[in-house]
């Protein structure tokens, strides 16, 4: 192809045509890949090409013309009208949006950087949508051209209608959900990503000021400026410790109690199980607020009643960083173990009795039975759930914020001493209006969560399911 291209380029008249052919071949390759992806094997090669498909495809560069060439007038005009109305309807939005997202506004008070950014994202989404329709148009023209080359009858209008209904139905069903997802889930994520590369904060805040792109300056600041770096490191290390300690404790307690309560000769099992599941049944925000009261230094029951009972002096649960952390881990253990407990109880009841009987015959001790039968069975069944427990606690805003608001505060830092990443992001956003920095930290946090998640579902069934391939 390259050789031919070089030769042709010497003749200026042919240059355009060559370009077209190159483009066409690229599109064809893409089509080929798409079709291979859908499992249809493509038999014909370049040599078999006859003019119809080529012409239809190149005419389709203006949507609709290819279809008209294929004598599918209705479809062709539909594409044409769709294209024109798309251009007319979205011309301003695309123009304005793309300009806005590149410049983020040039002149005050006319331009509002954040609006421009929002418009820009919408423009890109609309553009992507338009391009996919365009690709569909090319694909359709090429397909029907090929049919003509092979001398096949093209679909009549009635057949086309049926076709549209049949292939369109799943899209129709998906559209409300996907539309909502795009606007309330994907859109904000894109917005955060963009925001991380701007200087949007209290001092650069529309409508009074413009926001500018500053590249990766925020990330550099977080890792280079002493104030930010120290805060980031201390918050991050506490987040990691918190995640591992709190989650591991709640899992251990849950598994332990479930195994303990699964002994055959134990009485009142049902009653105990109901009691132990209570912390899961009560909404977490209620329990955490109650705990905040219980750990309160002046009137809380932990200091006044329980510790006093054992003759221990009052502990400053909410003002001393160390004790605040201990309290948080205790609270999360209380909140989190019932879930694991319930899961494991279900699994234990499904382990066949014969396994234990066989082990008993072989003379295994209780501990051996637990280690070689019970534990592997439990771990195998709940492994995916365990990982979500860790990611859940990594982002467990509620317990941190409701217990003590991330406090007690640390002098010279923007984060309190029990703040984890997500609650730090919260206070950066709502209290100190450091939007751009908060966005950059969110990205760091998301990268961590997503890589754990990806690692996880490489291992889950759904990833290996045949119809995913």
């Amino acid at each position: 192809m390259n050789k031919e291209g070089d030769l042709d380029s010497e003749e200026p008249k042919l240059e355009n045509l060559t370009l077209l052919v190159t483009l066409f071949n690229k599109v064809k390759k893409i089509c080929c890949i798409v079709r291979k992806g859908t499992g249809i094997y493509m038999t014909d090669t370049d040599e078999m090409m006859t003019p119809h498909r080529k012409k239809a495809l190149s005419l389709s560069l203006i949507p609709g013309l290819g279809q008209i060439y294929n004598r599918q007038l209705l479809k062709g005009f539909a594409f044409l009208i769709l294209t024109i109305s798309f251009i007319v309807a979205f011309k301003d939005l695309l123009n304005m949006g793309l300009w806005g997202i590149v410049t983020l506004g040039e002149e005050l008070p006319r331009d509002h950087s954040i609006f421009l950014m929002v418009e820009g994202i919408i423009a890109i989404i609309v553009l992507l949508f338009g391009l996919s329709i365009y690709a569909l148009n090319l694909f359709d023209a090429y397909e029907n051209g090929k049919k003509r080359d092979k001398g096949l009858q093209l679909n009549s209008i009635r057949e086309q209608y049926r076709n549209v209904v049949d292939t369109g139905f799943p899209y129709l069903m998906l559209s409300p959900g996907v539309f909502l997802l795009i606007f309330v889930v994907i859109f904000p994520i894109l917005f955060v990503i963009l925001m991380a590369f701007t200087n949007y904060d209290l001092y650069h805040s529309p409508p009074a000021k413009l926001v500018d792109w500053i590249g990766i300056q925020n990330f550099i600041d977080i890792f280079k400026l002493d104030l930010w770096r120290e805060t980031f490191i201390s918050v991050f290390s506490w987040t990691v410790i918190w995640t591992f300690v709190a989650t591991t404790i709640q899992i251990t307690i849950g598994v332990f109690l479930a195994v303990l309560l699964n002994q055959k000769d134990l009485m009142f099992k049902k009653l105990f199980r109901t009691i132990l599941i209570l912390p899961w049944a009560i909404p977490a925000f209620v329990s955490i607020l109650v705990f905040a009261g219980m750990f309160n230094v002046t009137f809380g029951t932990i200091n006044n009643d329980i510790l006093a009972l054992f003759g221990i002096d009052a502990i400053p649960w909410q003002t001393n960083p160390f004790w605040a952390k201990v309290a948080l881990i205790l609270i999360q253990s209380w909140l989190g173990f019932p879930f694991i407990f319930a899961m494991v109880t279900g699994i234990l009841q499904s382990i066949p009795e014969e396994l234990y009987e066989a082990a008993t015959v072989d003379g295994a001790s209780i501990w051996q039975k637990f280690r070689t039968i019970t534990l592997p069975m439990i771990l195998f069944a709940i492994a995916p759930i365990l990982i979500t427990q860790y990611t859940f606690n990594f982002n467990n805003f509620n317990v941190i914020f409701l217990f003590n608001g991330g406090g007690p505060p640390v002098p010279g830092q923007t984060a309190g001493s029990t703040d984890i990443l997500i609650s730090w992001i919260y206070s950066l956003t709502l209290e100190s209006k450091q939007y751009a920095k908060a966005a950059a930290i969110t990205m760091v946090l998301s990268v961590i969560v997503i890589s754990v998640a990806l690692w996880q579902f490489r291992r889950t069934k759904s990833f290996q399911e045949e119809d995913m391939m």
Binding site: P170, V185, F191, I277, V290, A292, I422, M468
Partner: protein, 280 residues
């Protein structure tokens, strides 16, 4: 040491551990119930079992002039119910099309859902806040409902898809032979069979917004629009301790109905969660 003796020791130890665990679980519940019955506004100097138990704080909460509590309850129930209806409808439609149709973009769509499911929807906290302010959706229930519904979609669509996959495809095909259209097959053949999973999803999508604090805290500004979570938090945060008994009564009134609902439907929840866990 005889086997019998061993057994007695094992059981006694087990009972001791279990009873301690049960006591730790029960204690905060008893404490908060005790506090709510305490006369006076603060707890200082009171004991866990109040000498003069009173229901005055409950009465205060039900007094519309003195407290917004009933309003918060109403707001929460409203938001949860609408979220539930919206998300069950969308999830059923999406799960069905992912399970039954093979279309361009299906595999990528499923992958996207799998990834989105892993990102908590408050990860985009800042964006949600800024966008809500800019679009004037801040301080509206609509914003919350849309956010909750959107957040529920990815995971539960997987759940629904997994269940639809287990309904034999022959049913659809024979209905198609008999001339039923796409929508009719979905509505009259598949939906009745999918009731169990839809019930689980409905339960999830009711409880999730009920238990949420962070999104409601970001979006809601005026006190008469609060949900229970934000309202209760403000009751404590405003002047901690000063109105603690009132807060306690409010907490009890939330915990009891939800815990009862939860305990009675627990079996379904667990089945749903295990399905979700092994499936994705």
């Amino acid at each position: 040491m005889s086997i019998r003796k061993q057994k007695i020791i094992r059981l006694t130890l087990s009972y001791i551990v279990i009873i301690i665990a049960a006591a730790i679980v029960i204690y905060p519940v008893l404490w908060i119930v005790g506090s709510s019955l305490n006369p006076g506004n603060s707890l200082s100097g009171s004991s866990m079992i109040p000498k003069k138990a009173t229901f005055i704080h409950y009465k205060e909460l039900f007094d519309l002039e003195k407290s917004n509590y009933l309003l918060w309850y109403w707001n929460t129930l409203k938001i949860c119910t609408i979220t539930m209806i919206l998300s069950v409808t969308m999830i059923a439609l999406m799960g069905y099309s992912f399970s039954r149709y093979r279309f361009i973009g299906r595999k990528n769509g499923l992958m996207t859902f799998l990834i989105l499911q892993m990102i908590p929807n408050f990860a985009a906290l800042i964006a949600i806040y800024v966008l809500a302010v800019q679009t004037k959706l801040i301080d509206t229930h609509l914003a919350l409902i849309l956010l909750y519904t959107g957040g529920l979609l990815p995971m539960n669509t997987w759940l629904a898809k997994g269940y639809f996959d287990t309904i034999p495809k022959e049913l659809d095909e024979s209905a198609r032979m008999d001339g039923a259209g796409h929508f009719r097959i979905f509505w009259q053949i598949i939906m009745p069979l999918a009731k169990p999973i839809l019930a689980v999803i409905a339960l999830f999508s009711f409880i999730t917004p009920f238990a949420d604090f962070i999104l409601a805290k970001i979006i809601l500004r005026s006190e008469d629009k609060y949900t229970l979570a934000v309202g209760l938090y403000n009751l404590v945060a405003k002047q901690f301790g000063a109105e603690f008994t009132k807060f306690a009564a409010g907490a009890v009134l939330i915990a009891i109905p939800i815990a009862l609902l939860f305990l009675s439907l627990q079996r379904y929840l667990i089945s749903g969660l295990t399905a979700g866990g092994t499936k994705g």
